[in-house]
Symmetry: C2
Subunit: 360 residues, 2 copies
């Protein structure tokens, strides 16, 4: 059996070229006689891999010198605590935008550490849109503002970057980072689990403005203090070396394909075609306001939920896998990260149309 | 160039059979059309991989049902905080044995959370031995006792398990877990970074007695609460799936080789031969008391430190790599974990003897 098209929301599809290179190098990285996973993180060979990965990421995102890039562990769920622990900086209040399942998790965790003010919520609209800038009720007392630019489960994406004036903006970019260019200087801290657009689960990227580092909350474990990792070049303890290496391969793959502007064009084309297929059918539906639809995660429902299981079974038989929606919302979800080729989206659309023709 | 013998202390050598299987399955795990790293952690295929890994680990270590096995992130350095955060349970004091560099790190971190009493220290002996049971000055007020059964940097291993009566014993087994059978019921919590005997850096194993779970310190992040992970089968958030899979391959490899009793015999033979070569030479030396010498990490010095660089260069030319001692102690260190074949130790000994013949 050949490779399939994998629409998993994360861990997610990896570029086949990257997997082939990893396989080629698995037992012997460039004549070293070692798998990268076997190298000491202090060895010059691994250090060069690590530095190249950071340089490539900085080039892809045009990260200003005043920002540190940290290669950490623990996922976005750890950042839900690390953001307040590091960004409160003497304050006791933070603003959060409540726009979906991942916002809610970030909010619940932040409440352990400070007063959380909900500066906007789209829960009344069942998370089918993002708030507008004018709807944001930001407080000048907030130590920072936190939001989730792309809600992986609901498939809602902000069409703008919230303006917070001088208050640092913290963004959980797990399911959108590297899908298109961003202006890093608009943010205080950006974080992302790697298992969507960056590589292996177990690596967490943090891009943080230097002046926000170094005033952790009392009782912060060393491993949750950004300064610990910034001072040590992300090698305070053993980093997830193999995941770091694989992220580096993904960054090189992105640069070879023309960088993030080129990816944005492809991603818009993929998402546009899939949403068009949904909207023009009488059988599939997506509830999200068109301007706020995610380019990475496309949830959709069938007119008859009784057909869901048949849809999944036949899709799998057609080599289109992991299309079930998140258990909290049901229906289907197609995640179409950078590594999903346009051919995969076309195959999904063709399958959907044929399924509708037969059962719709 | 072929594979080399890699004596790195961690990340460390992996069994070649495991790497070959990983390579074979990299683009297509058992006909799934997916790399394991691309599977959703909620998918039945990954769940079966995860469950099999835990079952194999439980079989290898004969883990009682009253213990939970957690597949976490963050390394031993995160456990340095998680142990006090979870095991203090209303107490404000813990006993620590100070036996080397890793003990010292655990102690420094624990001081953020409680009063640390040093129940024994071998610092006066420059960490060249373990304390005896009679030297332990344990307090009945301690919430737990923490020690490091094998000090990776100094090459010191406890020849006994400290008796703490009813006080839970916490052990950083990063560089010894799976090297030989242990009696899990002697411990309250055992933890280990995976990058020595278990697989990839980025996975951290925790084996914890059930009754110690569920009373975290106020202000403990959800991700640092053992209960979070125990309740969710280590899938509260996305676990490091590829590292979990690879650890499973290592566990199967160990079972195929006869389990931990068989490994202990091989490991004693490897360490015995290497220490004998050191002791019978007039050129190499190891300062550790013979009864306390590590079976996993063998530090040694050359009679003339001016020859260190030449030793390393010529060793590398002979395909014997990563032999430099830790920067804090200098000299050489040969880490000879499970995955190091006896042939590798024989090759190192032959090289050492030839080097001594030429330069000694």
């Amino acid at each position: 059996m050949a490779r399939v098209f994998n629409f998993s929301a994360g861990p997610a599809i990896l570029p086949e070229e990257v997997l082939r290179q990893a396989r080629e190098e698995l037992l012997n990285w460039r004549g070293s006689g070692l798998c990268v996973a076997e190298m000491s993180h202090r060895d010059q060979e691994f250090v060069s891999i690590a530095e190249q990965a950071e340089a490539d990421l900085r080039a892809l995102l045009a990260i200003p010198d005043s920002y540190r890039v940290l290669f950490l562990q623990g996922g976005a769920s750890s950042q839900f605590a690390m953001v307040p622990m590091n960004l409160l900086r003497g304050g006791d209040q933070a603003d959060y935008l409540n726009t979906g399942s991942w916002s809610k998790k970030a909010i619940a965790e932040a409440k352990r550490f400070c007063a959380v003010e909900i500066a906007a919520s789209t829960e009344d609209a069942r998370f089918t849109r993002a708030p507008t800038q004018r709807e944001l009720n930001l407080s000048s007392e907030a130590a920072y503002v936190h939001y989730t630019p792309n809600e992986t489960i609901e498939g809602v994406e902000f069409p703008f970057v919230p303006e917070t004036v001088d208050i640092p903006l913290a963004a959980d970019m797990s399911s959108t980072l590297l899908s298109r260019p961003i202006e890093v200087s608009r943010y205080g801290v950006i974080y992302a689990g790697a298992q969507k657009n960056l590589g292996l689960a177990g690596l967490t990227l943090v891009i943080v403005r230097e002046d926000l580092i170094g005033r952790p909350l009392a009782g912060t474990p060393a491993m949750f203090d950004y300064k610990t990792h910034a001072d040590a070049g992300s090698m305070y303890n053993t980093p997830p070396t193999y995941a770091w290496y694989l992220a580096g391969l993904v960054f090189q793959w992105l640069r070879c394909r023309g960088g993030l502007a080129a990816m944005a064009t492809i991603n818009e084309r993929k998402a546009g075609a899939l949403y068009a297929a949904i909207d023009t059918s009488g059988f599939y539906a997506n509830p999200v306001e068109p301007a706020c639809r995610s380019r990475m995660n496309v949830p959709f429902t069938l007119a008859d939920p009784g057909l869901d299981q048949k849809f999944l079974t036949e899709a799998k038989a057609a080599d289109l896998v992991t299309l079930e929606g998140h258990r909290s919302v049901g229906g289907m979800r197609a995640s179409i990260y950078n590594a999903m080729p346009e051919e995969g989206v076309r195959a999904l659309i063709a399958f959907m149309q044929e399924f509708e023709r037969r059962y719709g």
